[in-house]
Symmetry: C2
Subunit: 157 residues, 2 copies
């Protein structure tokens, strides 16, 4: 069982944006450099995040992406599902017609697993991480290292 980098990247990028939400839009170029993700690939992911209503793009100089709603209303499950990762572990999409029309021997197991997963991930909102001191430390360190937001006073607060 694995989480592809697609979902991983998406959550990381969203976290980056959430952590700078008070500073202003964050460019994909910044995220690319700072989090080590290919820019073109990020663009593909953000097309989906936009369609999913999680972020909005701001074009032109000084633009970038910002959250489309408060960080407290964006869960990790929302993000992962937006980029097409499914949290459903049944092979039948929960319909129970997995084995020649009947449910398969393990249907119930995967169904319960999916519920567990969904409950867990939809309970985690971005703001929970934004408020953790150790994560804030990490971000400030990154920002200094890459000289991000160097001309925006709030960022240095």
């Amino acid at each position: 069982m694995r989480l592809s980098t697609k979902g991983r990247y998406a959550v990381t990028a969203m976290m980056d944006i959430a952590l700078h939400n008070d500073v202003g839009p964050v460019t994909l170029a910044d995220i690319s450099q700072c989090q080590g993700i290919s820019l073109s690939y990020l663009e593909q992911l953000f097309a989906k995040l936009r369609k999913g209503g999680l972020v909005e793009g701001v074009r032109g100089p000084g633009g970038g992406y910002r959250l489309a709603r408060p960080a407290s209303e964006i869960s990790v499950a929302d993000i992962i599902q937006s980029v097409d990762e499914k949290l459903d572990m049944t092979k039948c999409g929960g319909r129970g017609n997995c084995s020649r029309g009947e449910t398969c021997l393990t249907h119930q197991l995967w169904f319960e697993l999916s519920c567990n997963l969904y409950r867990f991930l939809s309970g985690i909102k971005l703001d929970q991480y934004v408020n953790r001191p150790e994560i804030n430390e990490l971000v400030k360190k990154q920002d200094r290292q890459y000289g991000r937001f160097i001309n925006r006073p709030q960022a240095m607060a």
Copy 2:
């Protein structure tokens, strides 16, 4: 996030064996036909399950596979991990050196997710399902449909 058919097949096959544990060894040919899994592929999976100490093979006519320990001591996590599926969702293997030696922004999140997953799946043992009436119904139906164990009286009990 997805569970590959590798893990899914492995658990299904193990469930099949557990459900016939009182009848005797179950052949891969039977599992293949009944659960719709390619025989050669099953053989690959069972090589791993054997190495993992979950099943033992019995060669020769009347042979097959049986559980290497009681169904109450085999968890779904055991099975999935035996066939190389990882339950670790961090990309650093839990070591925390994900982003140029430091932990990445999302390390903690994936770590907590992994713990949750592992706790859930290692809490589910095969015998819990063997004892569910609806699953027993399903198996008996399958057995009749494919004429399995037709010459072994216990199976029809």
